[in-house]
Symmetry: C2
């Protein structure tokens, strides 16, 4: 009974703003990366996750989890990156089924080349539009939300 069928005014406008910002930012980031480095956003994310890992290597499943894509989607993207010479695949020594994706030297170089432009755009779109306090509050909300979501997926 206390669960109305529609979102109220505040909920709705925040929700719409969330969808809109996500859509617009994603589009602009995608565009910038493609124009500037020939990488899609998902490919860039894959490179970043690999670079974050020790030795620039990660099992496929771990990578899929970190990059917010499905297993099959990752198989596709890694195949593309391998074709481009940015990523290498090798067998996992402890599990015959396993595949380890690992950054090549070209992969590191591509990431280093792409990062500054990407960082500049993210700052411009995402950071510099807010005051320090606004950004702090916003980031706190995001992080709380994310924690909640992890609990929800479990």
């Amino acid at each position: 009974m206390d669960e109305p069928a529609w979102l109220d005014e505040h909920e709705l406008s925040a929700w719409q703003a969330f969808l809109a910002t996500g859509a617009i930012i994603n589009r602009l980031v995608e565009q910038q990366l493609k124009d500037d480095s020939g990488l899609s956003h998902s490919q860039y994310e894959v490179l970043v996750r690999l670079a974050d890992a020790t030795d620039g290597e990660l099992r496929m499943t771990e990578l899929a989890g970190a990059a917010f894509t499905s297993k099959s989607g990752l198989t596709y993207q890694v195949a593309q990156l391998e074709k481009a010479g940015l990523v290498r695949r090798r067998a996992c020594p402890t599990d015959v089924r396993g595949v380890i994706a690992s950054l090549t030297d070209e992969g590191w170089a591509a990431l280093r080349a792409a990062a500054p432009g990407h960082a500049a755009l993210v700052r411009e779109l995402f950071v510099s539009g807010l005051s320090r306090e606004e950004f702090a509050g916003f980031a706190a909300g995001l992080s709380a939300l994310l924690g909640r979501l992890y609990a929800h997926v479990d």
Copy 2:
């Protein structure tokens, strides 16, 4: 010179959280709508924008702008919705080129049927994880960000 090539710790974690929340929420919402109503999220958004407009009617271009999709993407979705009987297309009286998408009775019914489950999920994922103050701060940040983005697209 004062533009570092990488995001700093705070920027990065907020940015990652933003990407992660967007990805997870979109996936869950997509899933819920599909299971519950057989609609994709974009289709649901189209229905919502039409329902918000006077008489449940909108020109294709306005609709594309409101639903954050490309013109061709919208053509596709409206075709799907028309096939499903939820939307009708008619000629625009003041512009021969124009096409007006309009909700059918079935469209209104489908939206009314889908809304409660969707609203409940959005509340659960997006609203109820934050305190009232957190949510207010978060929403303010979102809205400021969105304003900035609109200026950026112009």
